[in-house]
């Protein structure tokens, strides 16, 4: 469905926000993971045709969308990380405006989508007065207006309360049954239960694109647990990557990312996805160093 071929996006001579990324994506949820400044948003903006790559190709069903952006726009839904709403507009009017911009004739679809995101009771209320969660739900409804084949959502759960996050996660998971959903986040728990693949970015480069299970497999034997006294912990902490440190009385319970046992008494632990990703990131950094 979507092929990204050696895409580079440079700003000036020195800054490469995206550096030679290649990916093949089909229907399903793809989690785009990376720290702030890793290049996730820039990559998504290029797929959404908001910005053009400095070099490389992005093919959608075999059509180069850099040369022919219209080929994807009619089949694209996009929810940016930060967005607002027009003042003085109700949620319904906001949707009607975007429906007209996207050439959507079916007015019933607007009602259906407002129901899908549970905003139908608020359809006639000013969208500007919505909470962050309600606004994001309105945003996703807007993105789904044209029944897109590819849905790009940038940090959709940032700032949402746990209930809203869960609702949002489930909605995106269901959409991913039939469509390609690219979801960027740095909250691993948001994608671990719904993403079929995780694309991991670091400093503009694609470090890995694998299933969560494959990432967990690779991290096994690289995440350790240990209980140390305070002085031992202080002696060790600058030499290893501490994932978690929890004081229990005189003992500090540690989770550590390390290629081998970091200290006497350390036991190999079953990594969580977040720990596996951190272990992978540290390994990449050490390799680069």
């Amino acid at each position: 469905m979507l092929q990204i071929r050696d895409v580079v996006k440079s700003f000036g001579k020195d800054v490469k926000a995206v550096d030679g990324v290649s990916l093949d994506l089909s229907a399903g949820v793809v989690g785009l993971i990376g720290h702030n400044g890793a290049g996730k948003t820039t990559l998504m903006q290029m797929i959404a045709t908001l910005t053009r790559p400095s070099s490389g190709q992005i093919l959608f069903d075999g059509v180069d969308i850099v040369a022919r952006p219209e080929a994807i726009r009619a089949r694209l839904g996009y929810l940016p990380q930060d967005f607002g709403v027009y003042p003085n507009l109700s949620a319904l009017e906001f949707m009607q405006y975007f429906a007209a911009l996207k050439g959507v004739r079916d007015q019933a679809r607007i009602r259906h989508l407002l129901e899908l995101v549970n905003l139908h009771d608020h359809a006639k209320k000013p969208a500007a007065a919505f909470s962050g969660g309600m606004r994001r739900r309105l945003g996703i409804a807007q993105a789904l207006l044209n029944d897109p084949d590819i849905l790009i959502v940038d940090e959709p759960t940032a700032g949402l309360d746990p209930e809203e996050r869960l609702r949002f996660r489930n909605l995106l998971g269901e959409l991913g049954f039939k469509k390609l959903v690219i979801m960027s986040t740095h909250i691993v728990s948001d994608v671990e239960s719904i993403a079929g693949r995780l694309a991991i970015m670091n400093k503009g480069r694609l470090v890995a694109c694998e299933t969560p299970d494959a990432i967990l497999d690779k991290a096994r034997g690289k995440v350790w647990s240990a209980d140390l006294g305070t002085s031992d912990y202080e002696a060790l902490r600058d030499k290893v990557h501490v994932l978690q440190a929890q004081r229990r009385g005189d003992v500090v319970a540690l989770r550590i990312a390390h290629p081998h046992a970091p200290c006497p008494g350390a036991c190999a632990a079953e990594p969580s996805l977040e720990e596996a990703l951190m272990a992978q990131r540290y390994a990449v950094q050490e390799l680069a160093a």
């Binding site: 903006q45 959404a48 045709t49 908001l50 952006p69 219209e70 726009r73 009619a74 694209l76 996009y78 929810l79 940016p80 930060d82 967005f83 607002g84 709403v85 027009y86 003042p87 003085n88 507009l89 009017e93 009607q96 405006y97 975007f98 429906a99 007209a100 911009l101 996207k102 050439g103 959507v104 004739r105 007015q107 000013p126 500007a128 007065a129 945003g139 807007q142």
Partner: protein
């Protein structure tokens, strides 16, 4: 300590403003303004003409003429340039942080004010440098820098204080933060010119001079004192080359006049008192609700009351969905404009109704009113996506970012034709050139609104120039090139062609910039 805080606040204001793209536009505009203001006498026009004799381009004449004219423009433009920082703070989220700091209202307001004045002084400095360059090219005597500095300070400083004080006051009060404040200031700015006519009248001159922030009244008195006339024109005017040119004395300003200007400057600070007392301090109780619901300004209140009218435009959204490509999107943008401002529906119905039924003799007035309503409505057409932080969402629909610029221009033009079309059609039968002027003028204004909005990212640049142009057009009824939309009946083939070319050039420039 307070001095350090003030310095930091003012420096920060200056830095933020100087980094805006609108500052580049403003700097270029003031340089262009100076060139347009001081014509080459060989062309038959001069900056100052007294009883058809030109005044020699000495330092005092050029300083007085250019400072006098620019005081009018900086008074209006300065307000719109300085305004809007509080809204920026709210948008960026910095407002809440500022509100929670220990800085007092008075220090904060004073810092903002100082920064605003410093910024406008920088623009005035650029303007003065251009005038000096023109003096070197076209002047009749040596460049006397002190004369320039003296005249610019005396003439311009009170006006800058006035503009910045009102900008800070309006930004400090929730209900004046939006378009309502922009329009209200235009009327305040216009009202002060009434005082200039009072300066020469016995019994009223003293107090009138104090409130003459532009300094034009004082300048009239200075000329009267030295040349025994109040009949003179400042601005590009034709003169009789057969008459002997006149010379202004170097020292135009008496001690009394200087005191009057100093007092005017002090009076111009008075709006800061209510600004400090009423400052919203970014309190969500005051500004967040006003911004979110837009119901507290008079214009927003009117729109709130007229909200049911927006239902009339909803079918346009459905129509937009059915029309293919750009036509559908333009229809959607037109519908959005009316839905966001239902008062515009009323204004449109009124202007169309009156234009269709009224006697032909009142059509010029109807046209002026229709253009005024339209200009205010569309001033933010090309900036509203940016202001609402929605650009990324509207940039990925069909046509992308490039077409968005064109469709917003087209929607502006369509709205213009909706407001003025009936009058233009009636003129088409009796005065085709006038009808053509209306179309060319609306097209040029549409293109300029899109260009200025896209380059400066604020609606205020266009709104300020539009309101100023409207004010000039209503007062200078016989000048063809000022009669942009034909309501004075002075437009000719050349002026229509000029506005057609402006429309094409502005549209092309905006499109290229947008890409």
């Amino acid at each position: 300590m307070i001095g350090l805080v003030l310095k930091t606040l003012a420096k920060n204001e200056m830095r933020l403003r100087m980094r805006r793209s609108s500052t580049i536009v403003a700097l270029l505009a003031v340089a262009a303004l100076a060139w347009a203001m001081i014509p080459d006498p060989a062309s038959g026009n001069a900056l100052i003409v007294i009883r058809e004799a030109r005044v020699l381009y000495t330092s005092s004449a050029l300083a007085l003429g250019s400072a006098g004219l620019s005081a009018i423009l900086f008074g209006l433009g300065g307000f719109y340039l300085v305004r809007g920082r509080m809204s920026e703070d709210m948008r960026s989220g910095a407002g809440g942080v500022i509100g929670a700091t220990p800085v007092s209202n008075s220090v904060f307001i004073a810092g903002r004010w100082l920064g605003g004045v410093a910024y406008l002084c920088a623009l005035v400095g650029m303007f003065m440098l251009t005038v000096l360059a023109l003096h070197a090219l076209r002047g009749d005597g040596p460049i006397e820098l002190l004369v320039y500095l003296h005249t610019f300070t005396v003439m311009l400083l009170p006006m800058l204080f006035f503009a910045v004080s009102f900008a800070i006051l309006f930004d400090s009060i929730a209900l004046l933060m939006g378009k309502a404040g922009d329009i209200l200031f235009f009327f305040i700015w216009t009202a002060q010119f009434v005082l200039i006519t009072q300066v020469d009248k016995p019994g009223t001159s003293s107090w009138a001079m104090l409130f003459d922030f532009s300094g034009l009244g004082v300048a009239v008195l200075a000329v009267k004192t030295h040349l025994a006339t109040t009949s003179f024109s400042i601005g590009s005017s034709s003169f009789d080359p057969a008459l002997t040119p006149l010379t202004f004395p170097n020292l135009m300003w008496s001690g009394q006049m200087m005191v009057v200007r100093a007092l005017s400057g002090a009076i111009a600070l008075l709006p800061l008192v209510p600004a400090v007392l009423l400052f919203h301090r970014f309190s969500p109780d005051k500004v967040k609700v006003a911004r979110a619901r837009q119901r507290r300004s008079p214009l927003a209140l009117l729109n709130s009351v007229l909200r049911p009218l927006s239902a009339l435009t909803r079918p346009l959204f459905a129509l937009g969905g059915r029309l293919p490509g750009m036509a559908g999107q333009v229809t959607a943008d037109v519908a959005l404009s009316f839905t966001m401002a239902p008062s515009a529906v009323l204004a449109l119905l009124a202007s169309v109704g009156v234009a269709a039924l009224a006697d032909a003799s009142v059509l010029p007035g109807v046209m002026a009113g229709a253009v005024a309503c339209w200009g205010i409505l569309i001033s933010d057409m090309s900036t509203r996506d940016y202001a609402a932080d929605i650009e990324d969402m509207t940039g990925v629909v069909g046509g992308g970012v490039a077409r968005r610029y064109l469709r917003q221009f087209a929607a502006t033009l369509v709205l213009g034709l909706m407001f003025t079309g009936v009058v233009a059609l009636r003129w088409a039968a009796t005065a085709p050139l006038r009808a053509l002027a209306a179309v060319a003028g609306v097209a040029a204004l549409s293109a300029l609104a899109s260009l200025f909005g896209r380059t400066s990212r604020t609606a205020r640049l266009f709104l300020a120039l539009f309101l100023f142009g409207l004010y000039v057009a209503i007062n200078a009824t016989s000048v063809a090139w000022i009669d942009a939309v034909g309501f004075n009946g002075a437009a000719n083939t050349a002026s229509v062609a000029m506005y057609g070319m402006i429309a094409a050039a502005a549209l092309a420039a905006g499109y290229i910039w947008n890409r």
